[in-house]
Amino acid sequence: MLTKDMLTAMLKRAAANIAAEHTALSELDAKTGDGDHGVTINRAMTAAVAALDENADKPLVQLLNAIAMKIMMCDGGSTGPLLGSYFMGMAMKAPSDTLSAEETACMFESALNNFSGISRAKPGDKTMMDALVPATAALCESLRGGGSLATAFASAARAAAEGAEATRNYVAKFGRARTMGDRAIGHYDPGAVSISHIFRGFAEASV
């Protein structure tokens, strides 16, 4: 059972991880983009935490909507609208403040689904999708197979990390690295790395 409080703790842990890594993330973005991904993802996650604090007493669905709105109010480059729609997708499938394993899986699938709608990228395109897709798959498989939350998020975090790791071998089809062609090979996609830090945070907070 995933409670609102647990999700809050997970998100805060994820935000803390991003805060710790943001300089490195901007440095990654400098290799294939405009050097600001750490700034934008940190801004988005900081906004998420602010929304969490401001809306702590609201039902989960409102809380998630507030996070989405707050993120989309930031100047987030590519990251803002993407992450915003991710949380919007979560809100669409947050029926109560205590979610069953199946409801939890559905909520994360809905998030990915809404994200994909505006992203249009596919796995292998060297974007956040490369971490999000395997993480979501691993999470849902584990939850539906009866795994505990801790096991499920640990496996999601592993999958996200592997997905981010694999972006080194890809040519980018979306985002600023798109124009680099083969020269993007050898560099991590900063967005995918961010997603892996976020899922690592989820796992760390759910043990």
């Binding site: 300089t23 901007s26 440095e27 400098a30 290799k31 294939t32 983009g33 405009d34 050097g35 600001d36 750490g38 700034v39 934008t40 801004r43 709105m69 993120i71 989309m72 109010m73 930031c74 100047d75 987030g76 480059g77 590519s78 990251t79 803002g80 609208p81 993407l82 915003g84 729609s85 505006i118 979306f174 985002g175 600023r176 690295a177 798109r178 124009t179 680099m180 062609g181 020269r183």
Partner: protein, 326 residues
């Protein structure tokens, strides 16, 4: 990084405040991120709106009669969020409609798309033109939106000022949009003014063409060349891309990326103009200066659009804005 700035968090807020305070007869700042005309345009005319991250000064300032009604600024190199774009649309909402000009960059496109969806829900009449005039090294690659947007602002700004309908403004804008091309040459990489980080690096004697804006590195590296050789190389690619031929008429602009001196830009303009003219392509409109910079990046963008009588009349229409004296 050695810059006269204050806290990195307030860079954009302070620069926009300063820009509007310096040109109070032209600009006013609404809600921290919306650079608007000092005096609003009549409500029965189409409003024109554009958006983009900051750090590209003076791009935010092409606002005024015959130009934009509003520029929505994001933070450094980061597209404004969908909500901020939406706010501008609400401000400009009118029966005549709103034209949004978006530059083809991932974040801008994502924000614009979400803002358009919200606008539709609120019954705001919005059309969009997406600029992607950048010349890429290989055919088929999709271009990004570079400084050509400024030339487009002039064209659609003039059409809107004349009282054309949204459809008409959009039609002429799209025509111009498909007839324009931009190509960038980069000789030094910009620093991100908040992080101090550099996007990529560049050898002592290297330059990169088709380099886009931030030094993302999607271009072709080569040895540094003279002003003339560089201008002719770029102009040749423009001619090929636009299929220009003897007798054609163009607007030619050289946009400094930040560090390039006006001396370099004037010399380059001179070389480019002569090259086009040697092909019997007439330069009927021109501009040289900083329009869309990327901090202190070295190099420039060559911006060219093929003109016809309708476009020439709009290009020559009187207008008023702080960064382009017509």
């Amino acid at each position: 990084m050695k810059k006269f700035i204050n806290t990195p968090e307030r860079l954009t807020a302070e620069l926009l405040e300063g820009m509007c305070a310096a040109f109070p007869k032209h600009l006013k700042l609404v809600k921290e991120k919306l650079v608007c005309r000092a005096e609003d345009k009549a409500r029965d005319k189409v409003a024109v709106l554009s958006m983009g991250g900051s750090g590209h000064e003076p791009l935010e300032g092409f606002v005024g009669p015959g130009w934009l009604d509003c520029f929505v600024s994001g933070d450094i190199f980061a597209a404004p969020g969908p909500h901020t774009v939406m706010e501008a649309m609400r401000l400009l909402k009118r029966d005549a409609g709103v034209l949004l000009i978006t530059l083809n960059h991932s974040g801008d496109v994502l924000s614009a798309n979400m803002a358009k969806q919200m606008a539709a829900m609120e019954g705001i009449k919005v059309k969009e033109i997406l600029t992607r005039e950048e010349i890429r090294p290989t055919e088929g690659e999709e271009g990004r939106g570079l400084g050509g947007c400024v030339l487009l602002y002039k064209i659609v700004g003039a059409a809107a000022e004349k009282g054309w309908t949204l459809d008409e403004v959009c039609r002429v804008g799209e025509k111009f949009n498909t007839q324009m091309a931009a190509i960038a040459v980069l000789s030094e990489i910009a620093t991100h003014p908040a992080t101090g980080g550099q996007c990529g690096d560049m050898g002592e004697k290297e330059m990169e063409i088709c380099a886009g804006q931030h030094g993302e590195g999607g271009g072709v590296r080569m040895g540094m060349m003279s002003a003339k050789d560089t201008a002719e190389l770029l102009a040749g690619k423009v001619i090929a891309k636009l299929g220009l031929k003897a007798g054609d008429e163009i607007v030619l602009a050289i946009n400094g990326s930040g560090k390039a001196t006006l001396m370099e830009l004037f010399i380059t303009f001179n070389d480019a103009k002569k090259f086009f003219e040697s092909r019997k392509i007439r330069v009927v409109g021109s501009h040289v200066g900083e329009m869309l910079t990327v901090q202190e990046a070295g190099g420039y963008q060559m911006l060219v659009a093929k003109m016809d009588d309708e476009l020439k009349a709009l290009w020559d229409a009187p207008s008023r804005t702080p960064f382009f004296c017509s």
